[in-house]
């Protein structure tokens, strides 16, 4: 479970503390909180990881059904049980790794990873949380491919170089 920082009543940064501690320390749904991985400070109620403590604002309740006349049974109303997508935490975009691979290991396939990294953030900003998750997975995969390629090339170059040095 990640630890959270929060701003107290005097706007001073406090923490880090466990999420479960937050309410005891006076944090409410409107308090600004932050945890590593978040781009910016957010109100506690808009942080997906804290949704179990501070439920996000729900749309206004539907008007009650009209009074029943006669013997018709009241229409069954399903409770809004489906969990909104923004309950998921923002996925890691692997940007550091993709640029490290591309720039330092000389593996152009790292560029594919950077493309996916940028899509993680743009899809997240567009509230396409499922899409952002998929993009994050792809970014991770391409980082591994690129770093793996870099290591394989390094090992091959090392061995051939060594053999060449010995044979001389």
């Amino acid at each position: 479970m990640s630890k959270f920082y929060y701003l107290d009543a005097n706007n001073q940064q406090q923490g880090p503390v466990e999420a479960a501690e937050l309410t005891r320390l006076g944090v409410n749904a409107n308090t600004l909180v932050w945890t590593p991985g978040m781009d910016a400070w957010l109100e506690a109620r808009s942080v997906p990881e804290l949704a179990w403590i501070f439920p996000p604002a729900m749309p206004p309740a539907a008007p009650p059904p009209p009074p029943v006349t006669g013997t018709t049974p009241p229409p069954y109303q399903a409770a809004p049980a489906s969990i909104p997508h923004f309950y998921q935490p923002k996925p890691d975009n692997f940007l550091v790794w993709s640029i490290l691979a591309t720039v330092l290991c000389c593996v152009p396939s790292g560029i594919v990873a950077i493309v996916y990294s940028s899509r993680v953030n743009s899809l997240w900003e567009m509230k396409d949380y499922a899409g952002a998750g998929t993009a994050a997975k792809n970014a991770k995969t391409w980082c591994f491919i690129s770093l793996g390629l870099g290591i394989i090339v390094f090992v091959i170059a090392f061995i051939t170089g060594l053999l060449g040095a010995i044979s001389q």
Binding site: P16, W34, A40, W41, L95, I111, T160
Partner: protein, 118 residues
């Protein structure tokens, strides 16, 4: 762990000139296609950079002028700023707009360096 790897890489590149040893990694993209990738020359450039030889570093890979500060900021945010003291920098560096501009630059540089041999 990450700090140790960075130090190890830095020390290796400081003491070893990639031009003079045969066992330093080669770019497979260059070997296979004969074209240079956006990062070709980075290790040689970093070697010269660590020896304060800025002109030589620039000659090997001028794109590092863009990449290194960005990479530096990203590494810092990832491993040295757990408390998020630099929130604005984080928002900027991870903004999709910033990443997109970086992508455009890197692809332009890739094409350009193969048209005008650098």
């Amino acid at each position: 762990m990450v700090i140790a790897l960075i130090l190890l890489g830095g020390i290796t590149l400081f003491f070893i000139n990639p031009e003079q040893v045969s066992w330093m990694p080669k770019c497979y993209f260059y070997v296979l296609t004969g074209w240079q990738c956006p990062a070709c020359g980075s290790q040689r450039a970093l070697h010269h950079l660590l020896h304060q030889n800025f002109a030589a570093a620039f000659a090997y890979n001028p794109f590092l002028l863009v990449s290194l500060p960005y990479l530096f900021a990203l590494v810092f945010l990832q491993w040295f700023d757990e408390e998020n003291r630099f929130q604005k920098l984080r928002t900027f560096c991870h903004g999709s707009q910033t990443i997109r501009i970086y992508l455009v630059l890197i692809v332009l540089w890739w094409i350009l360096r193969n048209i005008i041999p650098w």
